[in-house]
Amino acid sequence: MLRFVARRLITSVLVLAVLTAIVFILARIVPSDPAVIYAGPKAPPAELDRVREHLGFNRPILEQYFDYVAKLITGDWGQSLATKRPVLDELFTRLPATLELIGFAMVLAVSAGVILGVVASRRPGGFIDGAIRFLSIGGISVPAFWLGLLLQLLFVGGLGILPATGQFSNSIKYSNPISHVTGLPLLDSMITGNGVAFTDGLQHVILPALTLAAYPLGLVARMTRAAMLDVMNQDYIFTARAYGLRETAIRWRLALKNALPPVLSIAGMAAAYALTGTFFVEAVFNWPGIGQFATSSMLAVDYPAIIAITLMGATAYLLANLLVDILQSRIDPRVSMS
């Protein structure tokens, strides 16, 4: 297994290297002057020249690229042109908020998706199956920004029971400040017993997590249903029935375990994809995470930030893939790690 992981990590590095080259070149061939982005549109020519010299924009692009990669390896991911701060600092400042959002969304998507998929597979073509299919395909098809606005209209404007935006109420900072333990504010509020902040944070995460969960929930539900239908036609299921095992036990214990590998695979990919889903969701809910930073970086053609976000997204995909493969081999011994 160690050899497998090592081999996968090596190929991952190669993928990331190629990706870096593509994104770097794409970001630099689009018409926009990084020195102008850095210094401002009305900066005088002398100041622009100083910036080009200082940040190396006046050197050949290949030289800039190799210099960039060399620094990347040593942990220097460059400086944001828009915010003048190290890109890694920008990302790590925002990462906890995004991780909490994706974490909540994926727990919701996988647990609800698996349940709905199993329930739908009981009577294929029946009313419940149809209703769940409608929900699943709706979740996959509906744009996140539109669903987010609808949820806000319903739960904020209509029912008035949940907050519209943000990670915590503004007043929390003054009335019940959160102590720093792990850097994940919701988790920190729970660990430190700050009940007011924890409840407030949970209320704030519900709507964005629901919005972000819609797409993976639909995928997981559809995949679970298909896998369950396949498994429920296997001989060992008939054998279990013949032995008098209860239908509930057959379905939820025997069949579901064997239907899980493909579901896990799709859930892993969906979790990595959720990083790009946050671009829209964080904008709608003013969630202070990486998605908002990505959107503003793209609008500003802030190429060090864009490359860093792309690398982070790609790394998340590769790691999710690796993790899924390892988990699958644990669940199903027939899956070989060779």
Partner: protein, 531 residues
């Protein structure tokens, strides 16, 4: 064999339902919990991102915060005020008769946030730093030397007469900064970026979370007690999306929002909980014609297009009614704006006649570019396309991010767009030395003069006007007016509209009038809750 398992689906569903019910019950008042006692906090949703905390290098949207933390020598008051300026760091100021020597008397007894005294040496150090490395250092270009003969006097000797009162009140490159911080930033150009401030204004930076939150704290030692903050803290949620900011305001999550989408203002205006007010702004929109090549190198064709533009509809749709048709490139209320500068109005028949007399009766194909991130431009550009189609001009419209649109336009005028739609505003409140000069003065290499227009007659007028602005503003105004008349006749651009800035004021809040001289700044200190 009979086995019994708890039903996992049921368990999860029951748990989840209980959690949602509990949370919803706890969250019946979503804006809660409020601190029953404790500091008085004013919460704001603002779109302004911070590109730097360095007050010298600042040249972007962080001006929203800078104007609350730092002070210039003087403040420029909104158009129509009884006095053109209000004293800030300078108590008084005067210029020599030839406009080449300016003296500022520095107030005594005031301190920076770090406790250092505000004196002439500090002012000189700030101006020297701005001249040396401010992004807007060009505003100090007329200055030959800065001297501080005593603790309360700063003198600027100029190479040529210039309006240093306007320069000293600029929203960029004119903040007065505590000397120790200036010295620290000279050694480390990232000194300010963690959110350090070194101003003398009514607020200090309490905390800063990049991309998310800025908290300003009342500065108790502020010299101007009449203009001190009414609250202990201003808690600003950085909210790039205007619709989200509106949601926050209407849901009661913030007390005030600085950016509300124009298209939703009618809804808010009909809500008794809000009052919608509009003010002059320095932002205007223009369509710059590529005069470097056919067919728009012919003034007759440019005039034809100017007659084809649907100005009223552009304001109604693009500006949602919040705008006035431009009289040339100087925005309404900003020197040297003049209502006497003539305007075009839509006359399609006349446009067709002019096109025919210019030899284009069969029409033509033109390419227009605009900034995709600008919602007003996205709304009104189709109106131009439709209107041009009526006179046989087929418009190929391309939306690009502004940085890309601008970079393509600067590359080679011969292969660039025919029409460049631009949203422009002056760096400081002198549209003569900025808008009129930057946009239309001849230059070898294009920057913002994206009409690529070259007129020695025009250059002469604006060059002469610039030298008179510091000494004889009426004479300068007259020359600029002549220059704008020439722009009308030669039509290197169509002047679409001067946008008005809108403020949505919640009931029970007193918000000061918008100051077009500080277009990105929301001044928080004068805001107060009604008794």
């Amino acid at each position: 064999m009979a086995l019994s398992f708890p039903h996992p689906a049921r368990t999860v569903l029951v748990t989840a339902t209980a959690a949602v019910v509990a949370l919803s019950a706890a969250g019946c008042s979503p804006a809660a919990p409020k601190a029953s006692s404790g500091p008085d906090v004013f919460s704001v949703a603002a779109s302004a991102a911070i590109t730097t905390w360095d007050p010298v290098r600042s040249f972007s949207t962080e001006a929203l915060y800078m104007g609350n933390i730092y002070e210039p020598l003087l403040w420029k008051n909104p158009a129509g005020s009884a006095e053109a300026y209000s004293p800030a760091i300078a108590e008084s100021w005067s210029a020599s008769a030839d406009g080449k020597s300016w003296t500022f008397k520095i107030r005594s007894g005031a301190t920076f946030h770090d406790g250092e005294p505000i004196n002439a040496a500090a002012v000189k150090a700030s101006i020297d730093a701005a001249r040396d490395h401010a992004a807007a250092s060009f505003i100090w270009a007329p200055v030959e030397s800065v001297t501080a003969p005593d603790d309360s006097t700063v003198t600027l000797q100029l190479k040529y007469a210039a309006p240093m009162d306007l320069v000293a009140s600029s929203t960029y490159g004119a903040w007065i900064v505590a000397p120790k911080a200036l010295a620290a930033s000279a050694k480390n150009d990232k000194y300010f970026e963690a959110g350090i401030d070194a101003g003398s204004g009514p607020y200090t930076i309490d905390s800063y979370k990049p991309g998310s939150k800025v908290v300003l704290k009342k500065y108790d030692g502020y010299w101007n007690k009449k203009a001190a903050s009414h609250v202990d803290f201003v808690d600003i949620s950085i909210t790039p999306d205007a619709v989200t900011a509106q949601q926050m305001l209407t849901a009661g999550e913030v007390d005030y929002a600085t950016n509300i989408p124009l298209e939703n203002l009618k809804t808010l205006a009909s809500d008794p909980k809000f009052t919608v007010k509009d003010f002059n702004s320095p932002f205007n929109f223009l369509a710059m014609f590529n005069t470097s090549r056919a067919p728009l190198n012919d003034p007759e064709v440019r005039r034809a297009l100017s007659y084809a533009i649907p100005y009223k509809e552009i304001i109604d749709i693009g500006g949602q009614g919040y705008g006035t048709q431009s009289h040339g490139p100087a925005p309404s209320g900003i020197f040297p704006y003049s209502q006497d500068v003539p305007q075009y109005s839509q006359d399609l028949e006349k446009a067709k006649q002019l096109l025919a007399s210019a030899g284009h009766a069969d029409g033509m194909n033109l390419k227009l570019t605009y900034a995709s991130e600008n919602p007003a431009e996205a709304r009104f550009v189709p109106l131009i396309k439709d209107a041009f189609a009526k006179i046989g001009v087929k418009l190929d419209v391309k939306a690009e991010l502004f940085n890309q649109q601008w970079d393509s336009a600067k590359a080679d005028p011969q292969s660039a767009q025919d029409i460049f739609v631009l949203n422009y505003w002056p760096t400081y409140s002198d549209a003569g030395s900025d808008n009129l000069t930057t946009l239309f003065h001849s230059s070898e290499k294009p920057s913002f003069n994206l009409s690529y227009w070259k007129s020695p007659e025009y250059d002469k007028l604006v060059d002469k006007a610039a030298t008179l602005t510091g000494t004889d503003r009426d004479a300068a105004q007259g020359l600029y007016k002549e220059a704008m008349d020439l722009l009308y006749r030669e039509a290197p651009a169509a002047f679409l509209y001067d946008a008005r800035t809108v403020s949505v004021v919640p009931a029970g809040l007193e918000v000061p009038a918008y100051n077009e001289n500080y277009p990105f700044t929301a001044f928080f200190a004068p805001i107060k809750r009604a008794a």
